[in-house]
């Protein structure tokens, strides 16, 4: 089992980013920092998904000259898995939507209490 393999590195960094994102969401007090942590978490999951589709020694799923060099005119032997990449495209767009909504909420919250500290919003705390 080789450590310095692109798929493994991507997977490892992705998992680390997920953990960093969770830490930020749970630990940070500032709402903007929490939103940034959410985007880090999102990026980590996307990286894990792309890394899972990686096949060693192959090129991007775009049929051009490099495919002919690597796969000897056979696309099947030349490209990495295109399906996770397509799913990640969807996930990125949804992540964008979630971030935009979170920022709008943050603006409203700031207007309500003139503060971005999460501890000032204790209406639902018991």
């Amino acid at each position: 089992m080789e450590i310095f393999e692109l798929g493994k590195i991507g997977l490892l960094i992705g998992f680390l980013l997920v953990i960093v994102g969770f830490w930020g969401v749970l630990q940070q007090k500032n709402i903007i920092k929490i939103i940034v942590s959410f985007t880090i978490l999102n990026t980590g999951i996307n990286l894990v998904m792309v890394a899972l589709g990686y096949v060693k020694g192959r090129t991007a799923p775009i049929i051009d000259d490099s495919v002919e060099q690597i796969g000897n005119h056979n696309v099947l032997n030349a490209i990495v898995d295109p399906v996770p990449q397509a799913l990640v495209l969807t996930a990125i767009v949804i992540g964008f939507g979630v971030t935009a909504l979170l920022l709008a909420y943050a603006m409203k919250l700031f207007k309500a209490k003139k503060s971005l500290d999460i501890n000032d919003f204790n209406d639902l705390k018991w």
């Binding site: 493994k8 997977l11 953990i19 399906v83 964008f96």
Partner: protein, 235 residues
Amino acid sequence: MLRNLLIAIVLASFGFIFYNLYQSYEPQTELTGIAAHYAENGASEVGAANLVTAVVVSYRSFDTLGEITILFLTAAIISFFLKLSKEDEDKIITHRGTSEILQTASALLIPLIYLFGVYVFINGHITPGGGFQGGAIIASGVVLAIMANPNMTINHTVIIWVESISGVSVILIGVLGIILGGGFLDSTFTGYGLGEFGTIFSAGTIPVIYSLVGLKVGAEISNILNLYQKSQKEA
């Protein structure tokens, strides 16, 4: 103290799960199942050199329809959420002028950024890129424009019309797929050919759909930015 302990426990359990996943991960050595089908038949069935685009816009075009619906929903919810009252809407606030460097650079860069965004979504089926990426690049040009000139207003009517027309056109092309192709959102029309592989005019309706998606995404993100900018008027 207890809180930090609980956070540490949560993170440690995530670390444990991820470590086991990482240990048991076996890299793929060849494409299997549906991916192999896409790789083998993508070029002949859809005609797009970029197989990710072929998957997103043709094989799984409902994904794309769902994505543009989600973006539309986001813009709608934000506009509902950040709605200004009548007197706030008419209020005029003037911001401090920005630096000379930013203004000069933005005058040079913004047209190039728009051009690059259009390039990315027109070439989405032959190079890395596509409608969402191109739309996001166009919106980044809008961000730069707002940063260089905070007093500018974005024309709301133009944005709404671009967004509506491109959104409706995507659906209409999808319906056209029922009549001329194999089903709703089918990108290949029978009898019209796929065009020469690897050129801009290839892959059926994919360039048209992706250009419309790019315009729609660009307009939608600009709309969200416009709402953020206008909500500063609320005291």
